[in-house]
Amino acid sequence: MAKTSILGLYEDPEDGAKAMDALHAANMDPNDFDVLTGTPYPEGAFGEHVPQHRLFRFPVFGAMVGFTLAIVFTAATQLAWPIVTGGKPILAVPAMLIITYELTMLSAVVMTVIGILFESRLPNFNPGAYDTRITEGLIGVVVSVEEGRESEIEAILNNAGAMETKRA
């Protein structure tokens, strides 16, 4: 069933929290409503459920990939043209360690950034109801609602003190 996105805007964060409370009380699925703010608040300040993530897996995976590639790169390229320089062994571990370290870290950082975007659910160019005043300090409570329940949800948002509601 198609869903409508409804946004309630609040001047006072406490009203936003009340709207969240009311949505919880109305047995809405926590995945169907969210709070939008222009500034980070302490986690759980609006009574929202604390989002879980698996970001930490990304750098570990990245580091493993980077490490493997670096070992292959440093070893294979030196073995491909085995010329002794400076009396060092062809597979000179301390020198390989430096390149390996850099590539491991590079890969870990790149994967972390990919992980951040993935876990933040970005990019998302079709975000539903939104208002530019949120980045000016208004609190937005956005609800994804099945057709037919729009008025009920708007009433909940308005009862909590919404200065305005809008649909998308």
Partner: protein, 459 residues
């Protein structure tokens, strides 16, 4: 105590976006000025490429001169960003907030500038490709990973990529603000760059976790970069003054010293130029100066130990080299200037609260530090090479030519111009950090006194 006023989010947006959404009158003149120097630099570089390195002061035995000094100098400056951003983020220092973006930006632009110098220095810049990248596949010839000159681009490339990504991730919420405050092509650009940022709890949580995680990942890279640059020198056994095991941490702590000082310079300029008195406050300079006292003292300790152990064996060439570096003109003049500028004058002044809170004095002392730190690199590189041939005695000296001075001026203009261009499109002070600070700072009353306090989330 907190100085300055608490602002609401609309005021924060308005004040901090005054550079990105409006064009200050001085801006285009400043950009034009720096652009002129940058263009001149490119022309001079063209002349050097055409005529060869003979137009520089480089000659036997000194083949590493002002270019390599300036390369090391800018790599050093680049340590500002991660030092400020990562370490202060990990230690939850509240005063870091207005400083982080500019420091990260300085890292990116100074690294780009630093990377240019080996290319400029190479004389035939196209050959740099042979040096770093695999070439001549037909014969299977590859770069020699045993060479420190290969370690350098690996480290700097990693640092530059990581710093740029770090900067971008921390910019996402502010790009959302810009998207919401603009129209037309700018709105489209910010919309695309912000990737649809909305500011829901998941995105904010990831932003916080990302800050900590990327900081933790960037810190070891930051340490490795200047260490590897130092090994360009330290692993060379034949040059007095270079072959020292302490070089890696010594370079890193020196880089932090010069980088944080550069941040002070930049913060003072930002406050004056964009009138961000409510955000960049004397308390921030005070905190940075306290940090600099610790860093500068540690760096000085390393300097003393480095010199102490270089004399340790009491071998003739080493003693003669140090004698020249410290006591013979013109090196002696530079040595004294270096110590006075990089340590004695600024640190003595920073001991006084009145100096730490004076933005003018902090500005000038931070510039002194960087004059001193440039000289430090020059004194490490050039005198050592001037007498590196112990058996053939082809000793010589070196003086940078006008071409090298121009390229050095180019480097400063290049960084300044890029910063100004960035500031025209993006906020130099993170908006969301300033807003977060409004939420997370409070006051606490104990008896009859009130002290500043912060909120800490329960782990």
């Amino acid at each position: 105590m907190r100085q300055g006023r608490q602002l609401d989010e609309i005021r924060v947006n308005k004040e901090l976006l005054n550079g990105a959404l409006e064009t200050p009158a001085w801006w285009k003149w400043a950009v034009l000025f720096f652009a002129t120097i940058v263009v001149t630099g490119f022309v001079v570089f063209g002349i050097q490429t055409n005529k060869g390195l003979g137009v520089t002061g480089l000659s036997r035995p000194v083949f590493w001169g002002a270019y390599i000094t300036t390369f090391v100098f800018w790599v050093g400056i680049s340590h500002a960003g991660i030092m400020i951003s990562a370490i202060l983020r990990l230690t939850q220092a509240e005063w870091r907030r207005p400083v982080t973006r500019a420091a990260e930006l300085l890292t990116v632009f100074s690294l780009l500038t630093a990377l240019s110098f080996p290319v400029i220095h190479a004389g035939r810049p196209w050959r740099i490709i042979y040096w770093i990248f695999p070439y001549d596949f037909a014969r299977g010839l590859w770069p020699n990973i045993r060479s420190p000159l290969i370690w350098d681009p690996a480290a700097i490339g990693t640092y530059l990529t990581g710093s740029t990504l770090f900067l971008y991730v921390a910019l996402l919420p502010d790009l959302g603000v810009l998207r919401d405050r603009t129209t037309g092509w700018r709105h489209a650009m910010y919309g695309a760059l912000s990737l649809g940022w909305r500011g829901n709890p998941r995105q904010w949580r990831l932003q916080t976790v990302a800050g900590v995680l990327l900081s933790a990942l960037m810190l070891p890279i930051f340490v490795s970069v200047h260490s590897i640059v130092s090994w360009d020198f330290a692993v060379t056994p034949g040059v007095e003054g270079w072959n020292s095991t302490i070089f890696a941490p010594y370079f890193v702590i020196g880089a932090v010293h010069s980088g944080v000082s550069a941040v002070v310079t930049m913060m003072a300029l930002m406050r004056w130029l964009w009138k961000w008195d409510n955000f960049i406050r004397p308390e921030h300079f005070d905190a940075l100066a306290r940090l600099l006292i610790v860093v500068a003292t540690a760096w000085f300790g390393f300097t003393v130990v480095e010199i102490l152990f270089s004399l340790y064996t009491l071998e003739g060439p080493e003693l003669a080299f140090r004698d020249m570096q410290i006591f013979q003109w013109p090196w002696s003049g530079m040595f004294v200037t270096f110590l006075l500028c990089a340590f004695f004058i600024p640190v003595t002044m920073w001991l006084f609260k009145s100096v730490r809170s004076s933005i003018v004095l902090m500005f000038w002392t931070s510039i002194l530090v960087n004059i001193g730190m440039w000289l430090e690199r020059f004194l490490i590189i050039v005198p050592s090479l001037a007498r590196k041939q112990p058996f053939v005695y082809t000793w010589g000296s070196y003086q940078p030519s006008i071409v090298e001075f121009t390229m050095m001026a180019w480097s400063f203009a290049f960084v300044a111009m890029n910063m100004l261009l960035f500031a025209r499109f993006f906020p130099l002070i993170p908006l969301f950090e300033s807003k977060e600070s409004m939420v997370f700072t409070t006051e606490m009353k104990i008896g009859r006194t009130t002290i500043p306090a912060v909120l800490r989330e329960q782990e």
